[in-house]
Each structure stands twice: as structure tokens, then as C-alpha cells.
């Protein structure tokens, strides 16, 4: 009955090796890249085949254990519905990314780093698949490290650029802090459960303190990967500086892996204390609102998208927190809506965020500028990219008609349900996350109107955009499929809903039955019908526009209240669009206009840019580390002494230890 797992192992192998043949082929030709793409797609098809085998087998959990000549015993793999839900985006997005790269990161144009990129791309995908399939702590950590290191080399693809190197270093440090936390967590888990097997439930008599420590360490380790707000520091830089299809993979897939860990940690304890869920809920809500505020203030569209990923992971965390609360206070409805909404949102985010990053890649490829304020009017030059980007933007704002709304709607309904209980009780306050989610939604509209409006609409602001054009069909095809995926998820959510119930059943088997239905709590069917109505209206409008485009309307320059000579540079820029919001949230993110000094007597040509620092990284961590470095430099005199001084140190330590043992 392990066919599915054996096929999946083959897929992992294919994925891991996809970049290898290219290493031995010419760095000037495309053969290696084509081969990598074909291997990746083949591995994806195999993996999807494995999932189909798994599904046709009735979604029964399958597992596999191999003996291994390492001191800590066997290697265990397992496949259940939650793992399958996380595998799907890895498989799909990696294939689409490598197809997209055929036009975006051609080996012939990047002879220096293309081969390294594809080698690490394959390793990274294989690593992520291994992480979600691993059922053994040591294997999990090894897979985790493969993924983390491959990601480092993917970020630093263009390592000749100092900005890229800095982003890479910050990522590497963050990843290893997370790794340390996870090692400690698995040690504690081993101690509590008595084995390295994952994901066993901690027996009830185990000390509550150790469970709390496990949860907090997991929150640090997995939260760093998922980019939950104070732990997000590596994320914007890494996403902005990596090649766009790599950003798509990071945002659409790698962040999910952090969430995967948190989902599993929710499982390990039979009755989770209430504060676990509440902590996740508060972190998620804070993360969603703050990240979107940061996003609105960005001038670099890839950074904006990166912050929006943090926001979406925040929304997922709210759902997860809600599910954990449901586990603690024995409310199956909260588990269904919370976990269901969270997992659904993960899938949705894996569709629209890669779509948006690929769109950003098209813009970057065509204009060589990442600054929103130097672009504009690209919709006329790249209509396909603009249209697809708009679909992604509407979906990510959670607006009705597309898939993002459905998953946020499930989470909303779960939150609202906590408002209706008898007097008092902590759980009533949980519903206050709903207004936070609403503010996030409004901020998301602001951020994405700023992005798509200033980049695609209006007039061109600089010469960057003069020669822009849509990329070839090869790069557009993955985007079209992802956009269609967004539409399909919005129209046919019932299949997904059944999977979500099965996942919730696996997550809390005592509270949820496999036959339960989300539809009773949240009528997805009706909502899908309304989505269809909205989409048909939209299509109708577009068709009407297409038919009437030659009608006798007078086309004139923008009126602009009667300006005689409206200049392109007089347009509202993205920075001015977000100025009011950034002033409102100035206590959270100190956005500063950077203006050069004015000329003394005659006005000089001048230019105003805006600096939107990351409060946590630029105002907190970096100054903190600089301060720590200064403190530790004081210890410097103890170092660089002759050998006999070191011998004295050793003697001192030995004496101290002996004394410590004595008392």
C-alpha cells in the first residue's frame, strides 16, 4: 500500500537531480536548462501521480520506514492529507517556476550563475518535499537544512551585488537561529515522547513546562521561516534581491513550510493550553496589520509583495490560532473554520503570490527598475502582464469573485462565532481579531492599488518604461494557468472543502469526523454561485468594452482641472499615494522623505525619494547587534595572550567547575 510513497520518493530524486545534468553541459547553451525544466516537470507529474494514488486509496495515511546506518536509527516517511496539501504547491510552483525561467533567466544571458541556480532550485524543492514527508526528527532537521542552505544560494544568485550579499547573510543568520531553536525543540520532543518519530502526541503526564518550551521553540524556529512579524527580518530583502521566479518559490512555497511546522506542533499535545492559540492569534493579527502597513509604504514593488506575503502568513496564523483555541475549548466548529481557512488560504496564496512575483519579474525584465515611482503606464505596453497582475491583485486583496475571499471568509466566520457565547469568557475577545482582519483587508486594497495603479496605469514617468513589452508565451503561460487556478478555486471550492475536512479530521481526530461538512458552517456553495455571478458580470463588462471600443467617444488628454500642459512627472506617485497612510502609522514605520538640500538662490533640479526602513531590522536588530559588538569588544583584552595565560584560564575554569560540583 506504499505505492504512493515510492512514487513520491522517485519524484524527490528527480527533483533533486534536475539541475545536475546541466552542470556538465555548456554554460553558453540552453540544453542544460531545458533538461532541468523537463526533469522538474517530470518529477512534478510523478508527484501529482503519487497524490492521485494516495487520493484513490481513500486518503489512508501511509508510512514507510527504512533502516539506515546512522547512529539514531531508521528513516521514516509518511503521507497524510496535511502533508499532501503542502506537497501540492511545492510540486506545481516548482514546475511553473522552471518553465517561467526559460524566458526569464536564460542560461545564454546568465552564463555565470544559471547552472548554480538550477542545481540549488532542484535541491531546495527536494528538501522541502522531504521536510513535509519526514516522520523522523533527525531526517526532518537534515531536510530542513538542505532547504535552508539551498535557499541561501538561490538568494545570492547575483552575488556580485553587495545588496544581494547582505540580504543573503541576513537570511543565513535568521535561518540558523531558527535551526538552533528547532534542534533544541526536537531534543525536548525526543525527551517528552521517548522517540524521534514524528508527530507523536506528548503523553498527558509529561511535564506541562516542557510542552510550553517545545511550543515556544517551535514558534521561534518555524515562525522565522514563515516570517511572522517580529521574526520577518530576513524576508523582504531576500525576496526583493532574489531572481523573481525564486521569489515566487519562496513566497508561494517556502513560507508555507514554516506554517506546516506550526500546524504539526498544534497536533502534538492532546489538550493544548488556551494561551498557545491566543499567542498565535495575537501574533497573526499583529503581523497581518503591521506587515500591510509596511507594504503600503514601500517604493520597491518586490519588497511590497514580500511584505504582503508576511501579511498573508499572518492571516494564516490567525486561522491556525483559532483552530488551536478550538482544540483547547473543545469547539469543533472553530477547528473546521480556522484550520480549514488557514490551509485554504495557504493554497490560495500559493496561487496568487507566484502569479504576482512572476508579473513583477516581467516588469523588472522589461524596465530594469524596481522603483514604483519611476514606472507608470505599462498597461499599454504589456497588456497581458497588466491584466494577469490585476487578477492576482484582486485575489490577494481578498475581494469577492476570486479565491482569496473564500479563505478569508472562512476565517472571519470562525472569528465571528467566538463572539456568540455566554457572558464573559476569554473567547469573546478572540472575535476582536475580525476588525484587525478588516483593517488588513482595507490596507491591502490601498497597497495593491498603489502598486498596480502606479506601475501599470497613468503615464510613463521615466524612460525606463519606453521599450517595455510583454515576455514570450513561455513566460506568460504559467501566469495564465495560475490566474485560471485562482478563478477555478473561487468557482469550485467544494472539492477543496472536503479535503480540508479530512485534514482537520487528521489534525483533531477526536473532535472532527471525516464526514463533517464545512458547508454547514459556511455555505461555500452559495458563495461560489455569487462568485460566478460576479465573474460573469466582469466578463460581460470586458466584452462590452471590447465591442464598444471603437464607438464615437472623443479621446483627449486628461483634463486635470484645466491644466494647459499636464506633464508626466506631475502625476501622483506611489510615494505620494501612500503618504497619508504612512503619516497615520508614523509611530509604526518612520518613513522619511529624502530630499537633497535646495539651491541657495536659484532652484536646482531636485528629486525627492522616500526611505521606508524596516522598523524591526533597521531600528531594532542592527543597532542592537552593533551595540553588542561594541560590548563584546571590551572583552578583547582577554584574548591574544601567550599560552601560559590561557593555561591559567583553564585552571581557573577547572577550579570553578570543581567548586560548582562541590556545592
Amino acid at each position: 500500500m506504499n505505492t504512493a510513497l515510492y512514487i513520491m520518493m522517485t519524484a524527490i530524486l528527480g527533483m533533486a537531480l534536475s539541475g545536475v545534468p546541466g552542470l556538465f553541459l555548456s554554460r553558453r547553451g540552453m540544453a542544460g536548462q531545458w533538461m532541468a525544466m523537463l526533469l522538474n516537470v517530470l518529477a512534478t507529474l510523478l508527484g501529482i501521480g503519487a497524490l492521485i494514488v494516495f487520493a484513490s486509496g481513500g486518503y489512508h495515511n501511509v508510512s514507510l520506514a527504512w533502516r539506515w546506518a546512522l547512529p539514531w536509527g531508521g528513516v521514516a516517511w509518511g503521507l497524510d492529507v496535511i502533508t499532501a496539501l503542502f506537497l501540492l504547491p511545492i510540486l506545481v510552483i516548482s514546475a511553473f517556476g522552471s518553465i517561467y525561467a526559460l524566458g526569464y533567466w536564460k542560461q545564454t544571458q546568465h552564463p555565470g550563475n544559471g547552472r548554480k541556480l538550477r542545481f540549488c532550485w532542484g535541491l531546495m524543492n527536494a528538501g522541502m518535499m522531504m521536510v513535509v514527508l519526514a516522520r523522523d526528527g533527525v531526517l526532518f532537521l537534515m531536510a530542513w537544512e538542505i532547504m535552508a542552505l539551498a535557499a541561501f544560494f538561490l538568494i545570492t544568485t547575483e552575488d556580485h551585488d553587495p545588496c544581494v550579499r547582505e540580504a543573503g547573510w541576513i537570511y543565513l543568520i535568521a535561518a540558523h537561529i531558527g535551526m538552533i531553536a528547532l534542534v533544541a525543540m526536537f531534543v525536548l520532543l525526543r525527551w517528552a515522547t521517548g522517540s524521534f518519530d514524528l508527530w507523536l502526541t506528548i503523553p498527558a503526564p509529561a511535564v506541562q513546562g516542557s510542552a510550553a518550551a517545545i511550543f515556544l521553540l517551535a514558534l521561534l524556529g518555524f515562525g522565522l521561516k514563515a516570517g511572522i512579524m517580529p521574526l520577518h527580518v530576513w524576508l523582504p530583502g531576500a525576496h526583493a534581491n532574489a531572481p523573481s521566479h525564486v521569489s515566487a518559490l519562496f513566497s508561494g512555497v517556502m513560507l508555507n513550510i514554516g506554517i506546516y511546522g506550526l500546524v504539526r506542533i498544534g497536533e502534538i499535545i492532546a489538550v493544548a493550553p488556551l494561551w498557545w492559540g491566543v499567542t498565535l492569534l495575537i501574533l497573526g493579527a499583529g503581523s497581518a496589520v503591521a506587515a500591510m502597513v509596511f507594504a503600503v509604504c514601500q517604493n520597491d514593488y518586490k519588497r511590497l509583495l514580500a511584505y504582503s506575503s508576511i501579511e498573508n502568513m499572518g492571516i494564516v496564523t490567525i486561522g491556525l490560532g483559532l483552530a488551536m483555541i478550538g482544540r483547547s475549548i473543545n469547539r469543533p466548529d472553530l477547528i473546521l473554520l480556522g484550520l480549514g481557512g488557514a490551509l485554504f488560504h495557504i493554497l490560495n496564496h500559493s496561487l496568487f503570490k507566484p502569479l504576482l512575483f512572476m508579473g513583477a519579474g516581467n516588469i523588472l525584465h522589461a524596465t530594469h527598475s524596481r522603483n514604483i515611482d519611476s514606472l507608470g503606464g505599462l498597461a499599454g505596453k504589456m497588456p497581458m502582464t497588466a491584466g494577469l497582475f490585476f487578477i492576482g491583485a484582486l485575489a490577494i486583496c481578498g475581494l469577492p469573485g476570486l479565491n482569496g475571499f473564500l479563505s478569508e471568509w472562512l476565517i472571519y466566520l470562525g472569528l465571528l462565532r467566538t463572539a456568540v457565547v455566554a457572558h464573559g469568557g476569554t473567547s469573546v475577545w478572540i472575535s476582536l481579531a475580525a476588525p484587525a482582519l478588516a483593517v488588513t483587508g482595507a490596507l491591502a486594497v490601498a497597497g495593491f492599488v498603489k502598486l498596480s495603479g502606479s506601475v501599470f496605469l497613468g503615464n510613463r514617468r521615466s524612460a525606463h518604461a519606453d521599450h517595455a513589452h510583454d515576455p514570450g508565451a513561455g513566460s506568460l503561460m504559467p501566469m495564465v494557468i495560475l490566474a485560471l487556478g485562482c478563478v477555478a478555486m473561487a468557482l469550485f471550492p467544494s472539492g477543496i472543502a472536503r479535503l480540508l475536512v479530512r485534514a482537520a479530521h487528521g489534525w483533531a481526530p477526536k473532535m472532527i469526523n471525516a464526514g463533517d461538512s464545512i458547508g454547514l458552517l459556511a455555505p461555500l456553495h452559495e458563495m461560489a454561485l455569487l462568485n460566478a455571478v460576479l465573474l460573469l458580470t466582469a466578463v460581460g463588462i470586458l466584452v462590452a468594452f471590447w465591442i464598444g471600443r471603437k464607438s464615437s467617444t472623443a479621446a483627449v488628454p486628461t483634463w486635470s482641472c484645466g491644466y494647459a500642459r499636464p506633464a508626466k512627472r506631475m502625476q501622483y506617485t506611489g510615494a505620494s499615494f501612500s503618504r497619508m497612510l504612512s503619516q497615520l502609522f508614523a509611530w509604526m514605520i518612520p518613513v522619511k522623505p529624502l530630499a537633497p538640500p535646495e539651491g541657495r538662490y536659484f532652484p536646482q533640479p531636485t528629486e525627492l525619494t522616500q526611505d521606508a526602513p524596516d522598523t524591526v531590522l533597521d531600528r531594532g536588530l542592527i543597532p542592537g547587534f552593533v551595540w553588542m559588538q561594541r560590548v563584546f569588544m571590551r572583552l578583547r583584552p582577554l584574548q591574544n595572550k601567550p599560552v601560559n595565560v590561557y593555561l591559567v584560564y583553564m585552571l581557573g575554569i577547572l577550579l570553578l567547575l570543581l567548586l560548582a560540583l562541590r556545592f
Binding site: A379, A393, A438, G458
Partner: protein
């Protein structure tokens, strides 16, 4: 069955036909308090019909977004209008969770309206769009908090049972607080005084009107119609909190609903007559106050 069909038909007919009457009533009220005669009550209808017959001038900078925005906005508002119960009658469409759809439909409309404003490439319209999205962030919080009060009161997650829940069980203070908060949001979302002045002649201080400066002809007509419909839909919602009186006879209840809506427009007109427009930088404070009112309402019920 027939009863429901007739009520649904009346609902749709009112939703389609009555909205432009409200700005007419508001303008008449304002004229009365200013000692003027004012435009005819049906002037908004005349304006919309006139605009629909006219030709269009469209900026050559714009794309399909600009022309589709008014239609999308109108469609979203129309759908939102089908979710709100008018008077004591159930809304044509109601299902668990429709209140979130209701809130997000206005988000959809906002996405398109503000994108269309940026589409013209004019700085005035960008300015209006920036204000619109900024203030929306604050008013969405107030709306959700207000809805939370109603959810907790009624124990249901759909606008129709929520707003038609029996009056007896309502503790007065939270409802009044939520009503006050939602009324402020109603004024802000429909760009009325004290947040925005639809009649101002200074583009630099406008919000909604400045976003549609470059629209003309039928598109402008659709925008006016959509704006009136938004006012109508939100008023119908707030009315349930301010005046939850029903007679029990269907025909009389419909007449009462129409009368109440006209009275509501009169109240808005009076607010506009007695208040000055706030400075733009003070608007966030007003909207924060709306959130606080709704939030206090919620706190009062939890204690």
C-alpha cells in the same frame, strides 16, 4: 411563496428606483435650512437621465480599467443592496456569512474606483484616491466592530436574521453606540459633510468627487447613480438600528420603510446644514471615534 416573491420584487424595484431620491431630499433639506428654494426634489433623476443620453469624452491616457470601474462599482453596490433587509422583510439573498461579503463588496468597488482615478494620470484624482483608501482603513474597523455588536446580540451571522432580531432582547446602550458609530461611517463612506463636501469647488479638499473629475456622459451618470445607491443601501442598514419599528401589515410596512428612508435623508441633510466640513487632517480622528463607539458597544455587552 407568493408573499416572498412580491416582497423580493418590491425590494428590487425600490433598490433600483429610489436611490436618487435621497440626494434630492438632502439637497432640499439643505436648501430649506439655508433659506433657499433649492433644486427640484427629482433633480438627481433628471441629471442622471441627461448624462446617460450624452456623449463621452475619455482621456487618451486611460485603459479599460477607467471605463469598467463605474460599472463594477454599480454591480457591487447592487449586489450589496440585495443582501440588506429593507424594513421587516428578509433580503432577497441571505446566507450565513453574507455580512462579510457585504463589507468586501464595497472593498471591490473601492479597488476599481481608486484604480480608475490613478488611470487618468492626474494628480488631483490620485490625491482623492489616496484619501479614499486611507479613510477606508479606519472605517472598516468601525464597520466590523459594529457588526460584531450585532452578531453578539442576535447570535446569527447573516444580515437578515441579525437586523431583524427581536427588539425586546436588545440592550439599548450597545445598539445606540453601534448605531452612532455606523452613522459616522455612513457619512464618511458616502462622502457627506463633515468628512467631505459634495458641493465644494476646491479640488484640493475633495475625496469622492475629485476621483471622478475626468468622467463624463453615461459613465458619470452611472457613478452618480451608484453613489446614490450606496447611500441608500447603507442608510437602509443603519435604519434598522435607529428605528426598528414595524407595523406588521406588509403594505403599511413598505410605506413606513419609504417614509423612514426619506426621514433618514432629511437627517443627513440636517447634519450637513448644521455642521461645517472638518479639516482633512481631523477626519481620521472622527473615524477613530466611530471605531471607539462601536468598540465600547462591544465591551458593554461582554462585561
Amino acid at each position: 411563496m407568493l408573499y416572498h416573491v412580491i416582497n423580493t420584487l418590491i425590494h428590487i424595484a425600490l433598490l433600483l428606483a429610489m436611490p436618487p431620491l435621497l440626494p434630492g431630499v438632502i439637497n432640499k433639506t439643505k436648501a430649506f435650512f439655508a433659506g433657499r428654494k433649492g433644486p427640484p426634489l427629482l433633480q438627481p433623476y433628471f441629471d442622471i437621465f441627461k448624462l446617460l443620453r450624452k456623449g463621452m469624452v475619455i482621456s487618451s491616457t486611460t485603459t479599460w480599467i477607467f471605463q469598467s470601474a463605474p460599472v463594477v462599482t454599480l454591480a457591487a453596490t447592487l449586489l450589496a443592496g440585495l443582501l440588506v433587509p429593507f424594513g421587516p422583510f428578509a433580503a432577497p439573498i441571505h446566507f450565513t456569512g453574507d455580512l462579510i461579503l457585504f463589507v468586501y463588496l464595497f472593498g471591490l468597488a473601492r479597488f476599481f474606483t481608486t484604480s480608475a482615478a490613478l488611470d487618468t494620470g492626474s494628480s488631483f484624482e490620485g490625491m482623492g484616491a489616496a484619501r479614499e483608501v486611507t479613510f477606508a482603513c479606519l472605517s472598516e474597523a468601525a464597520v466590523l466592530l459594529g457588526l460584531l455588536v450585532l452578531v453578539r446580540l442576535s447570535g446569527s451571522f447573516s444580515l437578515t436574521p441579525m437586523l431583524l432580531a427581536p427588539l425586546m432582547h436588545r440592550p439599548e446602550a450597545p445598539v445606540l453606540l453601534a448605531a452612532a458609530g455606523l452613522f459616522i461611517v455612513l457619512l464618511a463612506e458616502n462622502s457627506r459633510i463633515p468628512v467631505d463636501d459634495p458641493n465644494t469647488h476646491l479640488e484640493l479638499t475633495m475625496i469622492h468627487e475629485v476621483m471622478v473629475l475626468d468622467n463624463s456622459g453615461p459613465l458619470l451618470g452611472l457613478i452618480h447613480y451608484g453613489a446614490a445607491m450606496k447611500l441608500f443601501v447603507l442608510s437602509a442598514l443603519v435604519l434598522h438600528l435607529l428605528a426598528p419599528f414595524h407595523i406588521g401589515v406588509p403594505a403599511a410596512d413598505w410605506v413606513l420603510f419609504i417614509a423612514e428612508m426619506i426621514a433618514m435623508a432629511g437627517i443627513i441633510g440636517m447634519v450637513e446644514s448644521f455642521m461645517a466640513r472638518l479639516q482633512l487632517r481631523h477626519v481620521p480622528t472622527l473615524l477613530a471615534a466611530a471605531s471607539l463607539l462601536c468598540g465600547f458597544g462591544f465591551v458593554l455587552m461582554v462585561r
